[in-house]
């Protein structure tokens, strides 16, 4: 992946596929501690311990019957290449938390990239799912909770052109503000 925001999109897609109704993304850039980390928490169907182990390291499992995915192993590789790593905890019927830590100034760390675009696509494609997104860069922070937005919109969908364009600008401006 060219950008970490693409890994984030990919990992959130797993939560959506797992039938989550609430997905929370917390993203923290802390330059003093020299780390970038994020976690995706969902209330989807979860995984058994064996499954959780297998998806983290598909190459070491003896399984040949199931096609193993690429998303989580790619994230793991990207994080480890910067001196970081990933953690996965999951419980069947409860949900999943996956978190990743990257060395902020490590030469192999991909740029974060376009978070506004990642979140816009997720929000507008899955209006039946609620999302909470928090992004902190050092001492600046903003958050979006789609439940609040939906309350204000009172039934007007995110896919309504005027709303889509507003959301797109809102996300872009707030992302930019973090680095101003």
């Amino acid at each position: 992946m060219k950008e970490l925001s693409l890994h984030i999109l990919d990992i959130m897609q797993n939560s959506i596929t797992a039938g989550a109704t609430l997905v929370t993304l917390e993203l923290i850039e802390d330059t003093a501690a020299d780390i970038l980390k994020f976690s995706v928490t969902d209330n989807g169907k979860g995984m058994t311990p064996e499954m959780a182990k297998a998806v983290i390291d598909p190459f070491t499992t003896g399984r040949t019957t199931r096609k193993v995915g690429l998303g989580i192993p790619l994230l793991k590789l990207a994080a480890e290449n910067t001196g970081g790593g990933i953690e996965l905890s999951s419980e069947v019927g409860v949900g999943t938390v996956i978190s990743a830590v990257f060395g902020y100034s490590h030469i192999d760390r991909q740029p974060l990239g376009n978070m506004a675009e990642t979140m816009l696509g997720i929000f507008t494609s899955h209006e039946d799912i609620d999302f909470v997104y928090k992004h902190r860069h050092n001492d600046k922070e903003y958050s979006v909770d789609t439940r609040e937005l939906k309350k204000i919109l009172g039934g007007v969908p995110f896919t309504q052109p005027e709303v889509t364009l507003w959301l797109s600008d809102f996300l872009k401006e707030n992302e930019q503000e973090l680095y101003a």
Binding site: L6, Q13, T17, G71, G121, S125, L153, P157, Q160, P161
Partner: protein, 122 residues
Amino acid sequence: MKSLADLEAIRKEMLEKVTLRKDDEQGVRIVVGMATCGIAAGARPVMNAFMEDTAKRKLEHVTVSQTGCIGMCRLEPIVEVFEPNKEKVTYVKMTPEKALRVVAEHIVNGNVVTEYTIGANE
């Protein structure tokens, strides 16, 4: 700076309109494959181009959404267009530029951009 108050204003304005965009049978659906292979091949900016361009053109009857794996990794990014009473059109190896052309020629004017379809790329 955009604020939540703008959103409130948009709602008021929209509720006065009759044509709210909704996922009805009459609508056109543009679906972008967004599994790992699609994302790695550039599906996100493709979806964004479709979303922003159809929104700017105020195409109320068109919805753009993302889905999981469509199952042909080497042809990603893949986009499927569903129109009522028509056969599904599958576009492959898409880019944001191609997306704009598909909106202008296919979605607005009804002419499938044959050279981007799966049939022309296999």
